[in-house]
Amino acid sequence: MAMIEKYANPTVFLGITRPLVPWLGGATVATLSAGLYLALFASPADYQQGESVRIMYVHVPAAWMAMMCYTSMAIASGVGLIWKHPLAHTAARATAPVGAAFTLLALVTGSLWGKPMWGTWWVWDARLTSVLILFFLYIGYMALNNAFDNAQRGANAAAVLALVGFVNVPIIKFSVEWWNTLHQPASVMRMDGPTIHASMLWPLGLMALGYTLFYFWVLIIRIDADVTAGKIRALRQRRAHS
């Protein structure tokens, strides 16, 4: 019974969020379509970078999401460790693959952009290296989570890793300022307001919103699946020992 009680909270949570799933899905598709249309067709080409500037609308929000997802994952992990709330671990676990996918997207689009801009796919520059490490951290988090026969153990160990790895996030963010690198410094997310033109800001904003909606959509679906799997596991274990 205790196991059922433990999952009572997630059940309440899912009762509230489950109806949101179709709405979030619809909103994601709509926002991303609008954003992509503006980005790829309606916005002007850059006077310096030409058409390749359009990669930015995919790249930049993906990079933001990569860091945002990691931050949420770290916060959820901390909550899970300190207050032992199972839903927090579940949320962290559900975030990891989404974050890893965004990181990969940022890496790939960055490389594609790097070839025309810097003349090379890859340099060992501080920002690029730290994003690559972020990707490895996501992979490590997922591997650690699945490495134990006891799911709780895996969640706890991975949570510690998520917290330790969080150091990397400010390094990504500020690496361009601490070490002068090839990579662009921030021009949107600045203390003193964005410095790019509105015609570029709009599609960028829409894409970022679309990515975020996508994240929450997938998050709820994955939490749902995880909670169900946990219930099945508990039932099966109880049967094995009765």
Binding site: I133, A143, L144, A147, Q152, R153, N156
Partner: protein, 221 residues
């Protein structure tokens, strides 16, 4: 503080007595580097060109290798439980174990490095920088590695997982360590690289024992 030295002394003692892990590491380091002239051919220019890289890579690999067993012995024979139950903060004891690890693996590495540098024909300018960079970098390797080693205790794929977890974290140290030596050989200032290596160490020193202790407590559940 008494307990810190207690654990430190015992780990040093054990390392000296059984030698399994730590001496193996230095041997491994030396052998890894020495094998290179056999593999790459004895041409002095090529060797000099790759010397800093080979030494740093060998240091990384041998550090990684020994880290897997940092807590494993204590975990398997029940000592870890008793360490957790001893009336001292676990973080202190973890730091002592890390210090012992560094003293038995990192320090001998640093001592051996100049000789290996001669063997690989490294430019004389690089020697001091190499030693200094290793002295700043290897403690960070031990600290970071301890977190990984604590987290994978009792997991199914300990070894692979460990390398997966800590190698990404080691790469920056490798990059800046090599680049310091290259800068010295090329006659450039090495201060920026040293600042960064020092920064890593300053960050890892308070954070890693805490995280490793948290990992260890988990492993006994």
């Amino acid at each position: 503080m008494g307990r810190f030295f207690c654990v430190l002394r015992r780990d040093l003692h054990l390392a000296l007595r059984q030698g399994m892990d730590s001496f193996m590491v230095v041997m491994f380091f030396v052998i890894a580097v020495v094998l290179f002239p056999f593999g790459v051919g004895p041409e002095p220019n090529t060797l000099a060109r790759i010397a800093a890289g080979v030494i740093w890579v060998a240091a990384l690999l041998s550090s990684m290798l020994s880290l897997e067993r940092l807590f494993l012995g204590d975990y398997e024979d029940g000592s870890l439980e008793l360490l957790v139950l001893s009336p001292a903060t676990l973080e202190t004891l973890v730091l002592a174990k890390i210090a012992a690890h560094w003293l038995t693996t990192g320090l001998p590495l640093i001592v051996a490095a100049p000789f290996l540098a001669i063997l690989l024909n490294m430019d004389g300018e690089g020697f001091v920088t190499l030693v200094a960079a290793l002295a700043l970098g290897t403690p960070t390797l031990s600290l970071l590695g301890a977190v990984g080693a604590a987290l994978v205790l009792g997991s199914r794929r300990g070894g692979v997982l460990l390398s997966l977890l800590i190698l990404p974290l080691f790469i920056p140290i490798l990059i800046f360590g090599v680049s310091a030596v290259d800068a010295a050989v090329g006659g450039y200032p090495v201060k920026p690289q040293f600042m960064i290596l020092g920064g890593f160490l300053a960050l890892a020193l308070p954070l890693c024992p805490w995280a490793a202790a948290a990992g260890l407590r988990q492993s006994l559940e």
